[in-house]
Symmetry: C2
Subunit: 768 residues, 2 copies
């Protein structure tokens, strides 16, 4: 086997700097660019560590909350390029999310007290886990404003389910999963009555409550199972973030809190504000919950249901020894269990120390009922000295900790100091610190809260960007900074602006654990993952109109979309009809999405290959409504159009056929056929190029060849129609069908040329 000369050169160039003259010229150019752009050698190294050339792949994919955007953001590491915003709690028209009937059904699950909430305050994403490792199957995320959890299927990166917490009225601390995704944890935040009634603040201590919900997850169905979920009622302490125990602490959950002072503000009445009263004590409470034992009680029928879920009252929790408290540094933000599950780290934003708890000590205290007392609600409190491993001074405003691949090494975000501290939580010493820009909230290391963190990279999720980027008005982007943690010293690599939303937390997974689909089985309702009852095959398109005795009519349009037409192209209904348009994307080719929009109708559908999307409305006004494909899908995309005609009730069509704007003759037909034969010659030459190379070794090219072959099949069908028209002497329609034959040739040529380029750029070899 011989490599072609071109390929050899490429390989040689790839070997680096030590290759003589060509290389020196390169060094000189590099130097010139560095000078011109004011780049240092350190910058070039950072560039080399992050730059990803065309077609390159990222090693990790990050899934970030979008904060108030209500979305999930996906980006790659180390390139720091944002790949997708996934609609979760907020409708998003590009994806058709909240615009097609199928996804509206998902958003409708998220109604609170029957009210539409068309946004969410997403905070903490969590991957599904198997045996404490990310398994790349599902992602969960919470809404703080209206306590909800959403589930995204990583098979297609679509939101499939939203569940509403029946008890809480606020929930910052979700979502966190147990090591086999048995449960998704969600804690209350601002205390409120569990009832949906007015309760005066005077009864705060007695009637306002906090809690933590363990949402049962059915891995097989890929759905949260609310009926088998349970909630711990807890004191009104503003429960916050959680983490599930793992390995030795498997079966337990940890939830921290702030404002255990139970202070109620009222600055308008001359009282000190919440921020003062909620941070006055030196400590808050870490809540330790035994979910494994609670689950057994639930299974044994020993827990009562309330609002459709199991509710474990404080009384029951105390009696069954399910919940324990330990003092923790005040106003903490994050509780983080180490990979082995025997250390739990909590930092308080108003204490410069990270506190490391020992699981062995905590277990001892629980076993020996060694408590320093009870809180006002009767929950047992473990003394700090009976739980603490060590306290380490990590900086001003420590917030969130993640773990390295190296044992005992952790990274903590330092909010007030605007730093990340690398430290040893076994020995209790600081190893390194790096400045970030500015005021870091959460941070993340690769697979950093799993059983086996990867280390390598760390991202600081900064809350302020201030002067880091070109100014874009008073509302600034966020700034995620990528830091290389592979060596002893941390190195800043990249500043990534976040253009939409305020991410709070992000989780990162090795990209090769994800195997997303590129197309759906034809006719899929992608929100249920089942075949749609409205799926339509090519040639089976139809419009059904059924009216009841009162003359109320329902129209169902069974339609399809394919390069470059919507079938049907004309839809006629009567004023007052209820209409549902169902469209199946017939494409199989990767990235061949079609859209659908219509004048004065608040609709955009996004139909990826195989997907069925529906749009239902009442035709409430007679008129003419152009519709069209909203995705630039092909050369004749603009011509992918149609008309909805809403006729006035009882309208009688005047006679008179449509006057064609243009008439075609035999000469036109002959000219078109000549064009088609010329085009076929071009196609043949492209086919010859492809088949004379080892194209079967390139999966993307094989897919393109399949697509092109299909288009040529369509072309042949059109040629038949043209021939039939010629046989009838109808040169007008023969010309038009021959035109359509040519359109399919153009599509085939387009695909073929892409395949040819791919082969040329990827070093395909000539075969005989």
């Amino acid at each position: 086997m011989k490599l072609p000369k071109q390929k050899l050169t490429a390989v040689a160039v790839g070997l680096g700097l030590a290759l003589g003259s060509a290389s020196s010229a390169w060094s000189a150019s590099l130097e010139e660019v560095m000078k011109e752009r004011g780049l240092t050698q350190k910058d070039i190294l950072a560039a080399a560590k992050t730059y990803t050339p065309t077609g390159g792949r990222d090693e990790y994919l990050m899934f970030s909350s979008g904060g108030q955007s209500g979305q999930v953001i996906v980006y790659g590491v180390p390139s720091m390029r944002i790949l997708k915003y996934i609609g979760v709690f907020t409708p998003e028209p590009w994806q058709g999310y909240g615009f097609d009937d199928e996804s509206k059904a998902v958003l409708d699950q998220g109604k609170v007290h029957g009210k539409d909430i068309i946004w969410g305050d997403t905070h903490h994403p969590a991957f599904s886990e198997t045996d404490g490792e990310y398994d790349g199957k599902f992602l969960f995320i919470n809404d703080k404003a209206n306590p909800r959890i959403a589930m995204i299927d990583l098979h297609d990166f679509e939101t499939k389910q939203i569940v509403v917490n029946p008890f809480f009225k606020s929930s910052h601390g979700g979502a966190f999963v147990t090591p086999n995704t048995e449960y998704v944890m969600e804690a209350a935040q601002y205390a409120a009555p569990f009832e949906d009634e007015f309760v005066p603040l005077e009864q705060f201590n007695d009637k306002y409550r906090g809690g933590v919900t363990y949402w049962r997850f059915d891995k097989k169905e890929g759905r949260i199972d609310p009926e088998n979920s349970f909630t711990f009622e807890l004191p009104p302490y503003s429960q916050d973030l959680s983490d599930a125990g793992k390995e030795v602490s498997y079966g337990w959950g940890f939830t921290n809190s702030f404002c255990s002072e139970r202070y109620v503000g009222g600055i308008e009445r001359g009282r000190p504000p919440f921020e003062a009263g909620c941070s006055q004590k030196d400590t808050d409470f870490l809540h330790i919950t035994n979910w494994k034992k609670a689950e057994e009680l639930v299974k044994a029928g020993k827990v009562k249901k309330s609002k459709g879920q199991y509710l474990i009252t404080m009384e029951q929790a105390i009696a069954e020894e399910l919940v324990f408290l330990v003092p923790e540094p005040k106003s903490p933000h994050g509780v983080d269990v180490n990979p082995k599950g025997n250390r739990i780290i909590v930092s308080g934003k108003l204490d410069s120390h990270a506190w490391v708890y020992s699981w062995e000590k905590i277990q001892d205290a629980i076993k020996n009922k060694k408590f320093e007392g009870k809180d006002p609600y009767g929950l047992p409190i473990i003394a700090l000295k009976d739980a603490l491993h060590t306290q380490v001074q990590v900086g001003l405003g420590p917030l969130h900790t993640q773990y390295d691949a190296k044992e005992c090494v952790a990274y903590t975000s330092i909010y007030v100091d605007s730093m990340v501290t690398k430290w040893d939580y076994c020995e209790g010493k600081v190893l390194d610190q790096i400045n970030i820009h500015y005021n870091v909230g959460h941070l993340v290391t690769m697979e950093g809260d799993s059983k086996s963190p990867d280390g390598k990279y760390l991202i600081a999720l900064n809350k302020l960007a201030i002067d880091r980027f070109n100014p874009v008005g008073p509302l600034h982007p966020q700034n995620h900074q990528l830091i290389d943690i592979s060596g002893d010293k941390m190195q800043l690599l990249y500043d990534m602006p976040l253009p939409l939303g305020e991410p709070h937390y992000v989780v990162g997974i090795k990209a090769d654990k994800l195997k997303p689909a590129v197309r759906y089985k034809s006719g899929t309702n992608t929100r249920t993952n089942k075949r749609s009852e409205w799926a339509t095959r090519a040639g089976r398109e139809k419009v059904e109109r059924n009216c009841d005795d009162q003359g109320n009519c329902q129209v169902h349009v069974y339609g399809t979309v394919i390069r470059s037409h919507i079938t049907p192209e004309i839809i006629e209904v009567e004023e007052g009809d209820k209409v549902s348009i169902h469209l199946t994307n017939l494409e199989r080719a990767q990235d061949e999405t079609h859209g659908f929009a219509m004048y004065t109708h608040n609709v955009n559908l996004s139909m990826e290959p195989g997907k069925v999307s529906s749009y239902s409305f009442t035709a409430d006004k007679a008129g003419v409504y152009p519709y069209y494909c909203t995705e630039f899908c092909s050369a004749l995309h603009l011509e992918m159009q149609g008309y909805l005609l809403v006729k006035p009730k009882g309208y009688k069509m005047e006679t008179g056929a449509m006057a064609e704007g243009q008439q075609y003759t035999q000469a036109d037909y002959d000219k078109q056929v000549k064009t088609n034969l010329d085009t076929q010659a071009v196609i043949d030459s492209v086919v010859k190029f492809i088949t004379s190379h080892n194209y079967k070794d390139f999966a993307p090219v094989v897919a393109l060849v399949e697509d092109a072959t299909e288009q040529l099949g369509f072309a042949a069908d059109m040629k038949k129609k043209a021939d039939e028209a010629v046989a009838k002497g109808d040169y007008h329609n023969a010309t038009l069908w021959a035109g359509q034959w040519w359109q399919y040739q153009v599509k085939a040529a387009d695909i073929g040329l892409r395949a040819k380029t791919y082969l040329e750029e990827n070093g395909a070899k000539k075969v005989q």
Copy 2:
């Protein structure tokens, strides 16, 4: 003046490769990274040309349509980092867009026939111009689905106005501006009756119409002026993109079209689809409109009004010689006037040639009434030979052309061939070609449609990404490819995924032409740019409740937000009250945005410094509704909370004061004061560091010092309150006020530390 040693080293390192041993070590590391990541020397050069280190600035800012996302996307060149998504036609909660009363008023302008349309299909952004140059003041963008134009003020990157076209039912071809932004052009696309009534397709030729609207723009007011705008009625030809003449062709507009066949599809009835019938003729029509003369007729009162705008009928246009047609290659996409205004380039996606028209020839033909005939509607047609300068074979599927800084050099996107062609339109020859990935739609060069293009960079807006990025499900990101056009040969530098939306066109402006604000004048309604009637100053917060005779009550909350509390913290209303909460952000510090969300209320406000946002609702259900700040604004952000209490109608409060969760003593007070004094010592040391350096030379540090000084002022106020409580022997409240005094110290310390780091990282000098 001496540079500190650290600074000198940095300068030396910046000089590049030829510095001996340190440098060799660097080369070795670089080589290692290249090997590990499989990067070629070409890749490193591309990385060096695009990588932008922390705090670096981009040379150009790009403003891209978001397609079906209904937004505008802002990104930097050459870093290709996305800086902002601007909400335009689609509500976006992170920005509060469509959630606060002020922005709802903007979206309400975009209602069509009284219907809410909460998305848009944005296509072509256009900068405002002065004398044919981008002036960086305003941006316009169209909605194709519901013909509308939106205007974004580049002072703050916010959408301020939406206008609805009264005639069209579809509009792909907008927005394009005349050289002094006298007008914004918007053409119809899919022909439809101008009336909002049912008209059968049989009357397509007679009653369906196209057109082009010239929206008058009032530069002083910064608003489109619909009443002084005019529309040309045109034949039902699917008018498409436009460009305004400039220099020698100033006063004229150019609009192309497709489907001048006036074909009406009907594949469901056995007819060939639109795509065949709309591309059957070899040519469509370029429309040439004389807007300067039309404007004179309007001003002279010679044009009739219809639907609130001036409508120039075809009859009048023919009589007054305002509109002319010239054949153009079929199914074109873009008409592009060169910088001098004497050449007009049109390419048809089904013709491999770009056609270059000569303005001198066209003018001659018009002057001499040299026409080859009339179209079916009586519009004069100039023969191709009397208008054409040359035709150049640029590739299969040419689409859009932009210009280089070098005279006669143009770049055309080639859709079917997936290429960009660089060519000379004077001499008519191809200069270079480069492959893109894949199927490029529009392209853009820097300031490439202005009077003086900058050249330097080109971006290919590819419609398909297929295999370029890590897979993220069936719906793919788009791919914008950055190409270096500074040399003779084009060089691909970067692939940027677009994570949300499908951009159709993007315009790029030199970044230093933009001078966006970082804050608002305190108390601003940012959508009107005027002082809000609800603006509230610190200490003037109040709640007003007024009831009418029927007992219907209206509550207005005049509130404020600042690090870290919302005033008021408790709002009490009665079931049935109409409530408006108005919040003024009191901050002056850059990037100190606060948010506002409330349980079961579909609201998120985004209040940048100085902004007033309002949220109005009916308190329709008694209950407890926590609210909070949604932007992580400070260490005690989570404590920035409050409660809306909706009391049942006629509810009488039981007696009984609130039981405090925690009581504080003199010992607590003394402890807090000690903490505060210790903290003050830290602050003093930071202040000493700052003032002992030349901090006044660093604008960002001066701003931080101002902010910190303000926080220390607040701290002093709190100390006073604590002292007052002590004087009364009220150690409980004295402790809480002392706690709040400390909170302000923490905020000051946070800011001070940021300032110190900035000085350290930016080579500040010790003074004396």
